[in-house]
């Protein structure tokens, strides 16, 4: 093993892996919540829906589009002052979280909106005809009926987030991206880059597997 990967220090690799998992995990949970809230707002304020409101819809939609369009590596740099204020530092895994969430949530919000639009209008009409409140329609109709699409959407977003953590790593967030860049690229240790790449692939495959499994379990259509 050591002859194959002469420059690899396994303790450092595991530490970096757990940092990557931590950043991805925290960011996925936050993106899921923020994205669903934004997606619901986008959907409910759109034309012909319960909270139809052109102004609100335009504002949310613009914000989502702007943050979705900024390349992630630039977003991290733009957010440095913001990160400094709310996290207190611009180094380490926690410092990467604001940028990860702000980068991924708008992307996921659009997927949520599309998933909600796929719901049969008749089902919402039926719920209204039964006297359901808006909160009941959200919790008992919109979210359960779009859940498979919400899960497959968060799977895609989570995989994108693994990529984002690697980029964040380059500017000091730690994790496998940071390791591959500092140890692998800058010191020209290709074996470290290789191991980091394989571990990122494994993480991606596991996320995809879990996502597909959960989606197929809950989809009763």
């Amino acid at each position: 093993m050591n002859s194959l990967f002469p420059n690899v220090q396994w303790e450092t690799i595991w530490a970096a892996t757990s940092e990557t998992l931590y950043m991805t995990g925290m960011a996925v949970v936050a993106t899921f919540i923020v994205g669903i809230v934004l997606g619901l707002l986008l959907f409910l304020t759109s034309k012909g829906n319960i909270w139809e409101n052109k102004l609100a819809n335009t504002i949310i939609s613009s914000v989502v589009n702007i943050f979705r369009s900024i390349p992630f590596i630039i977003l991290i740099i733009l957010l440095i002052p913001f990160t400094k204020v709310i996290v207190g530092t611009i180094l380490g895994a926690d410092a990467a979280l604001p940028a990860l969430i702000i980068g991924a949530a708008p992307f996921y919000a659009r997927m949520v909106e599309i998933a909600l639009r796929e719901i049969d209008k008749g089902v919402m009409e039926a719920a209204k005809a039964m006297g359901a409140t808006t909160a009941q329609i959200i919790w008992k109709v919109l979210i359960p009926e779009s859940l498979p699409a919400l899960i497959s959407g968060i799977t895609v977003t989570a995989i994108a987030l693994v990529g984002y953590t690697a980029m964040a790593g380059v500017v000091g967030a730690g994790g496998l991206g940071n390791l591959a860049y500092l140890e692998g690229f800058q010191r020209n240790h290709n074996d470290v880059t290789f191991v980091a790449t394989v571990l990122i692939l494994v993480i991606v495959f596991i996320i995809q597997f879990i996502g597909d499994f959960v989606t197929s379990k809950i989809d009763k259509r």
Binding site: G122, A127, A129, G131, A132
Partner: protein
């Protein structure tokens, strides 16, 4: 139970406004099965949605069970809606819930406690005949079973009114009949008022007490189903009645007969109620010097008695035919002499 006075519904669109419901006046008595028939775009769907406040009238008053559905809003409207069940052409079930959970849905909305919900759902499953399918998901059910779930769900909060939006239009004829039988059954057992919209005269014939015919947002004809069948006044009503009474092949057979018997008359006889049981043809042949050729006959059962149509060809001397027609007109039979086209 339901009163509409001078109700108009206008939709404003970029391309101009559309009058979907045009000065409609209507009264539906408690326990009645009231049918509204019309082609698509006639406004019947908007009219039905005015009854549970899914649409608000532009002007006029919609009173359902004493409540002005056009005026109330918020929790008062939601309370009122729990007393009005609704079923749909495409069932509109939640695919993520089992049969049992779908039926429990309106009970959850109404805030019924869990044990009570369970009990009520079991009752409803028996009522609509879905025993053994409780844990199935909608995707595992046939169309007829889905509509049974829809009906059970609509009845869950013991409503006083049931609205049916083309409830059988997506079903095959046999399933349609079983769903219609179920509707009549719950109407009689629960004393439920039913308002249904359809484009199929068959549905009106089979279960309705009264019918309204809609065209361009207006009710053009309204009355007891049997009366409307016997004496349709408007052209559109005649066309709907023909859906049930005059199959396509009759037309072809008649065209053929006009060729074959240039003399004599083709007559359509319409019998209602007791007159369906008279031996009219026997009397005709005995009393007049005529040849009577029966082309086509049909008896349909409506909710309020039988309704028959007979197409016959009369051949003989002209004055004998005239006397025969006069005789038949005295016998509570509608007589229509068909013209060759």
């Amino acid at each position: 139970m339901i009163t509409l006075s001078n109700v108009t519904k206008i939709y404003k669109a970029a391309s101009g406004s559309v009058t979907a419901v045009d000065h409609v006046n209507l009264h539906v008595a408690e326990g009645e099965i009231f049918g509204i028939i019309g082609y698509s775009g006639a406004g019947k769907s908007s009219l039905l949605r005015l009854l549970n406040g899914l649409e608000k009238p532009t002007s006029g008053e919609v009173i359902v069970d004493g409540k002005d559905m056009g005026k109330i809003s918020g929790s008062e409207l939601r309370q009122a809606r729990q007393q009005i069940g609704m079923i749909f052409q495409h069932f509109n079930l939640l695919w993520s819930r089992t049969v049992r959970e779908n039926i429990a849905f309106p009970l959850e909305i109404a805030g019924v406690p869990k044990e009570e919900r369970q009990k009520r759902v079991d009752e409803l499953i028996r009522l609509v005949g879905l025993e053994g399918r409780e844990e199935a998901y909608p995707s595992q059910l046939s169309g007829g079973q889905k509509q049974r779930v829809g009906i059970a769900r609509a009845l869950a909060n013991r409503p006083k009114v049931l609205l049916c939006d083309e409830a059988t239009s997506a079903l095959d004829p046999q399933t349609t009949d079983s769903i219609l039988d179920l509707l009549v059954d719950i109407n009689q057992r629960l004393g439920l008022t039913i308002v249904l919209i359809t484009h199929e005269m068959h549905v009106i014939r089979k279960i309705c007490d009264r019918v309204a015919v809609m065209e361009n947002g207006k009710i053009v004809e309204m009355g007891e189903v049997l009366q409307v069948f016997r004496k349709p006044e408007q052209p559109i009503t005649k066309r709907f009645v023909k859906q049930v009474t005059e199959p396509e092949e009759t037309k072809e057979a008649m065209a053929h007969l006009f060729d074959q018997y240039p003399n004599g008359k083709l007559v359509q006889l319409t019998f209602v109620g007791d007159s369906t049981e008279q031996p009219l043809i026997t009397q005709l042949i005995r009393q007049f010097d005529l040849t009577v050729n029966i082309l086509q006959g049909k008896i349909s059962q409506t909710h309020h008695g039988a309704y028959g149509v007979l197409f016959v060809h009369l051949a003989g001397a002209n004055d004998a035919i005239e006397r025969a027609l006069a005789f038949m007109r005295q016998q509570q039979v509608e007589v229509e002499v068909m013209a060759s086209e």
